[in-house]
């Protein structure tokens, strides 16, 4: 008997091939669009996150509790190098680097400006940050000389200096004492990030510690590595912090709340658009199913009179919608996968993207994400919405009485 239901449903669908095809086409259109947009969005987010984190922040950082909110110089990590070594051993990850940060007045021969100074470990810094690779002039800190500095391109321009010139640095140390030194500039980097190019200098951590009276402390231990492995790395790092109450492990969401929220805001507004689209497709399905039920009133009357129950008729209609919705979903996913696959290989770009890319520090070619989480949610939402829409015709059908229905033409 189930077979008759399915067979009837199948034949009913093709009573009006054009209507059926149009309904499926609407679903496929929505599915492909959703897959494409979602894939593009996720690809863009991944790129934004990866690029923003790779420049300087890293995947996670160990800091003294409270330093992230109020970065005072005295909030330091004691015996930071030993701790970094411990984390390296426990996570089996080389990309762990110790840093110190300070603020100072930086003077060239002609200019004086305030700037952020970071003390970095020349050996490990290139493994957590892409900044060492973004040197445009000169070279990065090579770890051989103690007293040298690299500087952001805008800052270098404002100070009117070139590699080889000397800078006088004047600030206050961890204990409030005067911190002063004279350092040759060996390199200029251009990260594309306005603030970093305008505000930041890097010097070897050992020199930084001497100048700013840091002892063996540091302000953060930056942990890099791949984001896919973040959970395992975090477990390892957390174990190293087990007996250190004053230290915290911060993930990138905490370190860069703006990035996280920008993504959330963008995601929310995008789903508003998607919802409107899905609702429209669901209305189309509602209309199709309602039509196909209404035009069969007479036929349903006969079936009811023959003793076929409302339940069975209902199952038949649900089967019809399910076949339609599933066909739409499968074709949609297939075409959608081909479309995003094409752009995954060839990259996607639109006018104005270069300027946006510069602002948000992303490359000007987008590669959409092709994964279950980009391929499935859109088509599934369309499927559910259309199935939901076909409930109304069933409710309508249940009200039919055989005698009345038979009189309908």
């Amino acid at each position: 008997m189930t077979n008759t239901t399915t067979l009837l449903a199948w034949r009913n669908i093709w009573r009006h091939p054009r209507r059926t095809l149009l309904t499926i086409a609407a679903m496929v259109f929505a599915d492909v669009l959703l897959i494409f947009m979602l894939g593009l969005q996720l690809g863009q987010y991944r790129m934004m996150i990866d690029n923003s984190l790779a420049i300087f922040t890293g995947q996670m950082q160990v800091q003294a509790d409270g330093y992230n909110d109020e970065p005072y110089m005295y909030r330091t990590i004691p015996a930071a190098d030993a701790l970094a070594e411990d984390i390296r051993a426990r996570t089996q990850l080389e990309a762990v680097a110790t840093r110190g940060y300070g603020f100072a007045l930086v003077s060239s021969e002609t200019r004086t400006l305030g700037a952020q100074i970071s003390g970095v470990d020349p050996q490990f810094e290139p493994r957590v940050s892409t900044l060492p690779g973004l040197i445009k002039q000169g070279r990065y800190l090579d770890g051989k000389a103690d007293n040298e500095i690299v500087i952001g391109s805008t800052l270098a321009r404002n100070l009117r200096i070139e590699p080889g010139d000397e800078l006088t640095i004047l600030g206050s140390g961890r204990d409030g004492s005067m911190a002063a030194t004279v350092t040759p500039v060996v390199g200029i980097y251009e990260s594309g990030n306005r603030d970093m190019d305008r505000m930041m200098l890097s010097m070897p951590l050992d020199t930084f510690r001497d100048v700013f009276s840091m002892g063996d402390t540091a302000h953060s231990i930056v942990i890099g590595g791949e984001r896919e492995r973040a959970d395992r790395i975090a477990t390892g790092a957390q174990a190293a912090l087990a007996d250190k109450d004053s230290l915290v492990l911060l993930d990138w969401e905490t370190l860069m709340p703006g990035l996280k929220q920008a993504i959330q805001a963008d995601f929310t507004s995008a789903w508003f658009m998607y919802a409107v689209l899905i609702i429209l497709v669901a209305f189309g399905m509602l209309n199709t199913m309602l039509m196909s039920v209404l035009e069969r009133t007479h036929e349903f009357g006969i079936l009811l009179a023959l003793g076929v129950g409302h339940g069975k008729l209902g199952r038949m209609i649900v089967t019809e919608s399910a076949v339609l919705a599933t066909t739409g979903m499968l074709i949609g996913i297939l075409i959608g996968a081909v479309v995003v696959g094409y752009y995954l290989v060839n990259g996607f770009t639109y006018p104005g993207m270069e300027a946006m890319g510069e602002r948000f520090n992303i490359p000007s070619v987008l590669r959409p994400e092709v994964s279950l989480r980009s391929l499935l949610p859109g088509p599934l939402a369309v499927f559910l919405a259309t199935m939901l829409a076909s409930l109304y015709p069933i409710l309508h059908m249940r009200k039919l009485r055989p005698t009345e229905a038979l009189q309908a033409v």
């Binding site: 005072y72 404002n158 703006g258 929220q261 658009m273 409107v276 189309g284 006018p351 510069e358």
Partner: protein, 413 residues
């Protein structure tokens, strides 16, 4: 006697309500589609307006004049002569074409409290002229706004105050570089605290009277920038050209030239809106075509009858198109009404402070004001109406093509 046109409209109207459920579903779909178009554009436009507003408000103004090279290298050496030395510029700025203008000195500086040292931009302003031009005059929430060009207090942002762990009324020290490359250093009392939507504004700027800053930096009567507002942030080219001519050897730029990102953003926005409209329309048109096809199909017999009675095929085509037109018009009416009703309660802005840090990242504040532009609403309506009629041509053409005899004898299918 009824005219044929009137008759066609009557038939179309009655046809529309023969299957009221189907028509209502389609009407709802059109209304929701239009609502989605108008709403989304209102929010997007609102966001961009706000970004522009805050960009202009945060010291940029509509047009800025700087000494040549200042934008690349904002140093105290690059100054302009004051406006009063340039009668042509003075009369242009005082004319009705410019609503507000002011001179400023802008230098990188270092601010020091007992607890911390931070880098800021010190802005010397003329408090009277500045009011109405930028945010500062209306944003002082604690203490007093500057009284005059030689007021000896400074205004500090709320967030900066917290970072420096100091209070209104306390002293801070500002350091910068004078034109002779010496460090100029001077203590100030904090006279007022300002609050803005964007934290970065609060931490970036410290304001003082322009004469006070000149005295601190031991400089003459030069200015770093002249900022002015015209009547509207669009169509500034003519004004900018005249200012450029009057200012002579200086760097005159409109806010769009100063912020190329914002300019591309505006261009991208129009494209995005058009794409969004088209997507919604395509989703809508599937339903529309389907509904009309069904309506025509189930009337095969009576259309055949009409033709047999002598109705020309063109009239049948028009009849179906009129039916579609009526449906589109009612749907659009409902959609516009729905948009109006849903935007009305949020006219004063939606609080989206839940994602404030993210919006700050994009240079926006945490209240979103929807901006309904009549051009967008018209475009949305026009797209649905014109393309809707175009999409109905196919079902209408199919209806008119039917051969009478075949159509009448055909009972079902």
């Amino acid at each position: 006697m009824k005219t044929p046109t009137f008759m066609l409209i009557t038939i179309a109207w009655r046809n529309l309500w023969r299957n009221h459920r189907r028509s209502l579903i389609m009407l709802t779909a059109i209304a929701i589609g239009l609502w989605g178009m108008i709403w989304m554009t209102a929010l997007m436009r609102g966001m961009v307006d706000q970004m522009i507003d805050s960009a202009i408000n945060t010291l940029s103004g509509h047009v800025q004049i700087h000494a040549e090279g200042f934008l690349d290298d904002p140093s105290i050496e690059r100054t302009l002569p004051p406006v009063r030395d340039n009668p042509a510029l003075q009369s242009l700025l005082d004319s009705a074409r410019v609503t507000h203008w002011s001179e400023r000195i802008r230098v990188p500086a270092v601010i020091r409290s007992e607890r911390d040292v931070l880098g800021v931009t010190l802005v010397g302003i003329d408090p009277q002229q500045e009011s109405g031009l930028s945010f500062i005059a209306d944003s002082v929430t604690e203490g007093e706004y500057l009284a005059g060009v030689d007021d000896r207090h400074v205004l500090v942002g709320r967030k900066l105050l917290e970072r420096l762990e100091t209070k209104s009324g306390r002293r801070i020290v500002l350091m910068s570089q004078d034109p002779d490359n010496n460090i100029a250093e001077r203590g100030f009392r904090i006279g007022g605290v300002f609050d803005t939507d964007l934290q970065v504004t609060e931490t970036s700027y410290v304001f003082a009277g322009i004469e006070t800053v000149r005295a601190m930096l031991k400089m003459g009567d030069g200015v770093s920038e002249i900022s002015l507002l015209g009547p509207d942030y669009r169509n500034l080219d003519a004004l900018a050209a005249d200012v450029r001519a009057a200012a002579g050897k200086a760097d005159t730029k409109t806010w769009l030239e100063l912020d190329p990102y914002m300019a591309t953003m505006l261009g991208v926005m129009d494209g995005v809106i058009l794409i969004w409209f088209s997507i919604i329309f395509v989703a809508l048109s599937f339903g529309l075509v389907n509904t009309l096809l069904m309506a025509v199909f189930e009337r095969t017999r009576e259309i055949g009858l009409l033709q047999a009675l002598g109705m020309p095929p063109a009239n049948i085509l028009i009849m179906v198109l009129v039916e579609s037109l009526i449906m589109l018009l009612i749907g659009l009416l409902a959609g516009n009404l729905l948009s109006w009703l849903t935007i009305l309660p949020i006219q004063d802005g939606i609080d989206i402070s839940g994602v404030a840090a993210g919006l700050e990242w994009a240079g926006m504040s945490s209240t979103l004001l929807p901006a309904v532009k009549s051009s967008d609403v018209l475009l949305a309506n026009a797209i649905v109406l014109v393309l809707g009629i175009a999409a109905s041509l196919f079902p209408a053409w199919r209806a008119s093509r039917k051969v009478p005899v075949e159509a009448i004898t055909r009972i079902w299918q």
